[in-house]
């Protein structure tokens, strides 16, 4: 009895162990049927001799969705290689035609006519036609706050197979920018894919870019492969525009959320590109075969909840603007004077069209006495100011907020730090009763009209004059008109204080010299034209 019993138990346990292994399919089924996976990965002709065919690229954050019209910032690293829009920015942020061949603007500036390139293929073999453009862009519009603000009720319509029309109710000068900027991702997908999409996104990821999606393992990696039928434009490559040639057969975007792991992997040779923190910098600075690059990154702004009890009153906003020491906040955020710059404008100086210095006397005032005075005038009696922030997204939001907290407390303002995870933060930010001040990093748009915090849904800016000036800005057509309108808007913004600009930050990255052809725009790397030597 004993032996039999013993053996049967051991057998039972062994069997269950095997069953567990059998049940678990760690190999995984491929998710995200991409429709274009008739080709096994990398079956195209082998790479030229001394070039590697595969690149592994680390991503610092998860990709919640690959739908280009959703969740804009987080998936751009990947989607800009898969999808394309009608236009793209060059290195100077000038729009250059991409899927469009050219466009016409009517005399009154209200009607855009886009002429599409012919013979452009989607990853599923279908040719790009107007119906795809209108379907995609109308969807894009309905899902993007910025686009809705710009386009209003207008829709894209089909003129003929290769012509699309957009009729606006009033002239706007930011349409082409919006269609270009990677931030907005006005990507073109096939009509059928767009129509089959649900509220949670498209079900297939078909674009026109030089790489096509092969496999997406959520939380692990995104695998794209060279699209052999890619139709490149002929203009020289600049920024995200121009010629795109895929020298790589396969790119794996690995999701590695731990910065130390990313860096160790770079050192170990798994990756040839990595973001570099201040702490890691000395390790790559002298390293042979490695170049350290400094890239302009996000800017930092303080946004007021203009419906909150205190900050609906302009005097309180002015008080905060007065005490603000931008250098201190920026230093606390990036830890090194090399990694930030002061900038009183809501746009970057590199963006010559839209850069303005109007109102800069209100920037970086560092005036605690003035602030205390204003507080007194406003009748401050110790109410608590809630600073909404999160420790996620790399920790920069938190770092900036905590320095601000110190500055506020120094003039006697009672503050409360409200730290949340990202999901809760999103929810609270939409609730006018939940916060007073929010300090965040923002990806710089190409025109002021696209600034999030000027938008009523963000920080609850409801000011008639602001709206009016913004409208004038987008209606301006000549460079002089633009300059006047822009100065006026920025000047007013420095008075109205929907938000307070703090400064611009840089990020650093390290690249191995054997990885060539990598360009970035607004911090996003363009992997077309990239070569990796063996």
């Amino acid at each position: 009895m004993n032996k039999l019993y013993r053996h049967s138990i051991l057998v039972l346990l062994l069997v269950s162990l095997l069953a567990v292994y059998g049940c678990s399919s760690g190999n995984g089924n491929n998710n995200a049927a991409s429709g274009a996976d008739a080709n096994a990965p990398g079956t195209a002709e082998p790479a030229p001799e001394n070039l590697a065919s595969e690149l592994r690229f680390p991503l610092a954050q998860q990709v919640p969705t690959l739908d280009p019209h959703l969740s804009l910032n987080t998936n751009v690293y990947v989607t800009l290689n898969i999808f394309e829009g009608l236009f793209a920015f060059d290195a100077n942020f000038n729009p250059v035609p991409m899927l469009a061949e050219s466009y016409d603007l009517s005399e009154d500036g209200k009607t855009y006519t886009f002429h599409l390139r012919q013979g452009v293929k989607f990853h599923n073999g279908k040719e790009l036609k107007a119906e795809d453009v209108t379907a995609s862009l109308n969807r894009w519009k309905s899902l993007t706050g910025r686009a809705q603000a710009s386009l209003g009720e207008s829709e894209f319509t089909i003129k003929d197979d290769y012509t699309v029309e957009l009729a606006l109710s009033e002239p706007r000068n930011d349409i082409i920018s919006q269609l270009s900027h990677v931030l907005n991702n006005a990507a073109i997908l096939p009509k059928e894919v767009v129509e089959a999409a649900g509220p949670d996104g498209v079900k297939e990821y078909i674009g026109t870019g030089p790489f096509k999606l092969v496999e997406w393992k959520q939380d692990q990696y995104v695998h794209v492969a060279k699209f052999d039928d890619y139709q490149s434009v002929d203009t020289p490559a600049s920024g995200l525009s121009g010629k795109k040639e895929a020298y790589l057969q396969d790119i794996y975007f690995d999701i590695v959320t731990d910065s130390a792991t990313r860096f160790s992997s770079f050192l170990a040779g798994t990756y040839d590109y990595v973001d570099v923190t201040l702490d890691n910098l000395p390790q790559v600075e002298g390293l042979a075969g490695v170049t350290v690059n400094k890239n302009l990154g996000s800017d930092i702004n303080l946004v007021f909840n203009k419906k909150s009890p205190l900050f609906s009153n302009i005097k309180y906003r002015e008080a905060v603007a007065a005490v603000l020491d931008a250098d201190e906040i920026l230093l606390g955020t990036v830890n090194s004077p090399d990694l930030y710059r002061l900038n009183p404008s809501y746009m970057y100086p590199e963006n010559t069209t839209w850069y303005s210095e109007a109102g800069k006397e209100n920037y970086n005032q560092k005036n605690p006495d003035k602030a205390k005075q204003l507080l007194q005038e406003a009748g401050y009696s110790g109410q608590e100011v809630t600073l909404l922030t999160t420790k996620e997204l790399g920790g920069s939001f938190y770092n900036a907020t905590i320095v601000l907290q110190k500055e506020l407390e120094a003039i006697g303002v009672k503050t409360k730090l409200d730290i949340n995870d990202f999901a809760t933060l999103l929810k609270k930010r939409a609730d006018p009763y939940a916060w007073d001040i929010y300090v965040g990093l923002f990806t710089m748009p190409s025109t002021p009209s696209q600034l999030l915090y000027l938008n009523p849904t963000y920080g609850f800016a409801e000011d008639a004059k602001l709206a009016e000036l913004t409208k004038q800005l987008t209606a301006a057509s000549t460079p002089e008109e633009i300059k006047t309108a822009n100065d006026a808007l920025q000047q007013y913004e420095w008075e109205y204080l929907a938000a307070v600009k703090i400064g611009d930050t840089y990020s650093q990255s390290a690249t191995r010299d054997k990885l060539t052809g990598l360009t970035t725009l607004a911090g996003y790397p363009n992997l077309a034209n990239t070569k990796l030597s063996q």
Binding site: V20, C23, S24, S25, N27, N29, T144, K427
Partner: protein, 314 residues
């Protein structure tokens, strides 16, 4: 025996039920929702609302719970919002890595801890005993991520023997599979070993006081024979229990280690799902973990009956 097993499995049901209610309540209370997370920063409120409708997030509490319970009982755990696959599939895919990791970590722990504990018990007060105390305190206090940092620096960056992070399934070959798992398993295993060594030692010491040890001595059994043939087997019961408990805990996923080493296991799945508010997955993982825990305990109990004939199935 079959009867016993069935009874144990049935006893699990009320536990799972209680858990499911707790989980559901907690999730209901947490602010934030997956729609906003998926659509991101610049999305308009209308878009978010439309998605919420589709996800069924606007239903009141009880109907949501009942709907979920109903599906679960049919084996339908629902679909993950973010992974675009059924929860069942997500669980299955993430089970393998965690299971391998837990198994390897536990093996490492056993291989280190049991001999160390046995030696320390039989040479009480001497070097081996002191070494055990030192080691176990080290293992308990050094945080996992610090340990992993050093091992990665040494083995991956300096020596380039092992990869820094990632995971390759068993189907890619046993050696490859192990290469990716060994560093995280080491970080986990050493901590487990610390605890296990102490339990081994104290269990051995207790048994060493038993009468039959004297009998064995009087029979002329060598010290080695006494320790390994007589004492160890008697000391196994508490050791096995601890192993079972720690293995169960590992199955819940060592979230921190998995995130450092990028292993797509249960821990990572759980943390990501909570951050994204992927409700169906959260619930699925919790239920699964509880189930696994009960099963591991059952296995340990069965093993105990083999080890100690006095223990009977009740």
């Amino acid at each position: 025996m079959a009867f016993y097993i069935t009874r144990r499995l049935l006893a699990m049901i009320p536990v799972l039920f209680v858990l499911s209610v707790i989980v559901f309540l907690i999730i209901y209370l947490i602010p934030g929702d997956p729609a906003a997370v998926m659509l991101g920063d610049g999305a308009s409120p209308e878009t978010i609302e439309a998605l919420r409708e589709q996800m069924g997030l606007n239903l009141p509490l009880l109907p949501q719970y009942l709907r979920w319970i109903g599906h679960t009982l049919q084996g339908e755990l629902g679909d993950s919002f973010f992974m675009r696959q059924p929860v069942r599939t997500a669980l299955a895919e993430h089970l393998g890595p965690t299971f391998s990791l837990a198994l390897l970590a536990e093996l490492i722990a056993i291989v280190i801890a049991v001999p160390l504990g046995v030696r320390a018990a039989s040479r009480r007060g001497e070097l081996a005993d002191k070494a055990l105390t030192g080691f176990s305190l080290f293992g308990i206090t050094v945080p996992g991520f610090v340990l992993s940092m050093f091992t990665v620096l040494l083995f991956s960056v300096q020596l380039k023997w092992l990869p820094v992070s990632g995971y390759k399934p068993l189907s890619d070959g046993l050696i490859t599979h192990l290469k990716y798992l060994i560093l995280p398993a080491l970080s986990l295993g050493i901590v487990q070993a610390a605890l296990l060594a102490r339990v081994t030692r104290s269990s051995m010491l207790e048994v060493l006081n038993e009468g039959f040890v004297k009998t064995a001595l009087a029979k002329g059994v060598s010290e080695q024979g006494i320790v390994y043939r007589h004492v160890l087997r008697n000391a196994l019961l508490p050791i096995l229990t601890v192993i079972g408990g720690s293995f169960g805990a590992l199955l819940a996923g060592a979230a921190v280690i998995e995130s450092i080493f990028n292993i797509p296991g249960m821990g990572q799945l759980l943390v990501n799902s909570v951050q994204r508010r992927d409700y169906a997955v959260i619930q699925g993982v919790i239920l699964f973990v509880a189930f696994a825990y009960v099963m591991v305990n059952l296995a340990v109990d069965l093993l105990c009956t083999i080890v100690d004939p006095r223990v009977r199935l009740k």
